[in-house]
């Protein structure tokens, strides 16, 4: 079932990412975080919004065969974590040949839809 409510912060981020204006929340120590977040999770200090680098690098990935019901028609799918400067994102890999994507592959982040419910999610495409 498609999500029928809005999540401020999360949905704002997806809209910005889709428009090519991805961002993250930066601490003075250089660490980066995703919204919604008011303060640095380890220090409580305020955070500043910064543009997210366009290119990221896959740091790990897995091909999932057994999915939860909301992704039943998506399986098998590849889910990955990619690093964009000081912030990491989790997303599904969208590539003609998912096996060509490995740790270290350069990707860009975008917004896609799941096959099962049409929910909007972060996706990674090879760059």
């Amino acid at each position: 079932m498609t999500r029928e409510f809005r999540d401020t912060g999360y949905d704002d981020f997806l809209e910005a990412l889709e428009a090519g204006e991805g961002y993250y929340l930066a601490g003075s120590d250089g660490d980066g975080f995703l919204p919604p977040r008011n303060v640095h999770p380890r220090t409580g200090e305020p955070l500043e919004e910064e543009p997210m680098p366009e290119a990221g690098e896959i740091v790990s990935l897995t091909r999932t065969q057994v999915a939860a019901p909301q992704l039943a028609d998506d399986a098998p799918y590849t889910v990955a974590i990619a690093e964009f400067g000081p912030v990491r994102l989790t997303g599904q890999v969208r590539a003609e040949d998912p096996k060509s994507i490995e740790i270290g592959t350069t990707v860009e982040a975008d917004v896609g839809e799941t096959e099962t419910t049409g929910d909007r999610i972060v996706v990674f495409r090879p760059r």
Binding site: L61, R63, T64, L71, G91, I103
Partner: protein
């Protein structure tokens, strides 16, 4: 501050596995009844109950299960549900330990229960995934086998190691469970079985994953003074407790191959008990997936980061190794009714130390044991030190 030791007066545990048609409360009643009888205390003596449960709302449409646990156990005492994903009952044990130590109670009942097998595999996958970040992890498709697979693949990339190394963890823990009548799988497997099993999320096959289980665990903990005054036989003490917390989402961690929450919990528990990792004779660790045992052994300080991957294959953590790990069969073979797991570790370790566990002979000279219970991708971790004191 003088730290008072807490004695384990009694333990109980249902067999883990499939308890068709039985509710979580019903299972906890069995475990609690056994623990109270084992302790030799009256039901009315219990001052407080801490009950671990994770997915009651999802599996049984049942929240607010603290009171339900107390009445199922026949204990007229204040009772609170503790939820910390798969570390729920480890956290419940810790609450009980702390309550005894500050002198607010003399006797506590701790433990947990989970009903899971009434769910389909897809439903259980969805319920377990609720321990991850709902927005940033679950929506793009993180499952728990998937999350730990991400950790395993990052580990292989960073430190080396193979699926075969991990397979030895599963083989070891299945071997330990063969004679344990409380275990879900009393079946030996070999490396080929593990490597040939259907893939769940690469690199994990079915045998890299702990099963979906029903079950309950319980322990009666008492103050030292209560044990002395009432002449209770309590040869095992909980001498150290520690808890750690990390970012909920795996992607938000500095490292995907270390578990700082468990490191913090271990450091605190060791300091509390006045021991070092080298003093530990054996351990029960949270092997929800094969790689989780590797990460646990490193977080607990038994191995340097990147070096525990070969521990099972080299026989260092087998029943006859230098550091037996998961003699109960672990989550992998004993089963993993998530809200009951931390309490079950206390129950099994206590029996191993007392000499009334089927695998007690493997640790007949042991005096110090450690339990490691983790929630999510180790965003929560609870470590306890148990020692033979009589």
């Amino acid at each position: 501050m003088v730290t008072m030791n807490v004695r384990v007066a009694g333990v109980g545990m249902t067999p883990f596995g499939k308890h068709e048609d039985r509710m979580g409360r019903d299972l906890f009643a069995d475990a609690a009844t056994e623990a109270i009888a084992d302790a030799g205390v009256d039901h009315e003596a219990v001052d407080e109950v801490f009950f671990g449960n994770f997915m009651g709302e999802f599996a049984e449409v049942q929240g607010h299960s603290g009171p339900l646990a107390a009445e199922s156990a026949g204990v007229p005492a204040p009772s609170t549900r503790i939820e910390s994903a798969c570390a729920s009952s480890g956290a419940a044990v810790r609450q009980g330990v702390n309550r005894l130590r500050v002198g607010d109670a003399d006797v506590v009942l701790v433990g947990g229960a989970e009903r899971m097998t009434n769910l389909s595999t897809a439903e259980a996958t969805e319920a377990l995934a609720a321990a991850a970040d709902a927005a940033w992890e679950i929506r793009p498709g993180i499952t728990f086998p998937g999350a730990y697979s991400l950790m395993a693949n990052a580990y292989f990339d960073q430190y080396g190691g193979t699926r075969e190394d991990l397979a030895h963890v599963a083989v070891k823990n299945h071997a330990n469970a063969v004679e344990n009548d409380l275990a879900q799988f009393q079946k030996a497997i070999d490396v080929d079985d593990v490597l040939g099993a259907p893939t769940v999320s690469s690199p994990f096959g079915l045998y890299d994953c702990s099963p979906i289980s029903d079950g309950a665990s319980a322990a009666v903990l008492v103050s030292e003074s209560y044990a002395e005054e009432h002449g209770l036989e309590t040869p095992v003490a909980i001498t150290g407790t520690g808890q750690g917390t990390d970012s909920l989402a795996l992607m938000a961690r500095e490292s995907m191959t270390r578990t700082p929450a468990a490191e913090q919990a271990a450091e605190a528990a060791y300091a509390d008990a006045g021991i070092e990792p080298g003093d530990v004779d054996f351990a029960e660790v949270h092997d929800c997936f094969t790689v989780a045992e590797v990460l646990a052994l490193e977080a607990l300080g038994f191995y340097e980061t990147g070096e525990a991957i070969s521990a099972a294959r080299e026989g260092e953590t087998t029943a006859d190794g230098d550091l037996p790990v998961n003699l109960s069969g672990g989550l992998k073979a004993k089963g993993h009714p998530v809200g009951a797991t931390g309490g079950a570790q206390i129950s099994e370790m206590t029996k191993l130390m007392r000499g009334d566990h089927v695998n007690s002979d493997a640790v007949s000279d042991a005096t110090v044991g450690v339990t490691h219970n983790a929630g999510g991708t180790v965003a929560s971790a609870v470590v306890h030190v148990l020692e033979v004191v009589e």
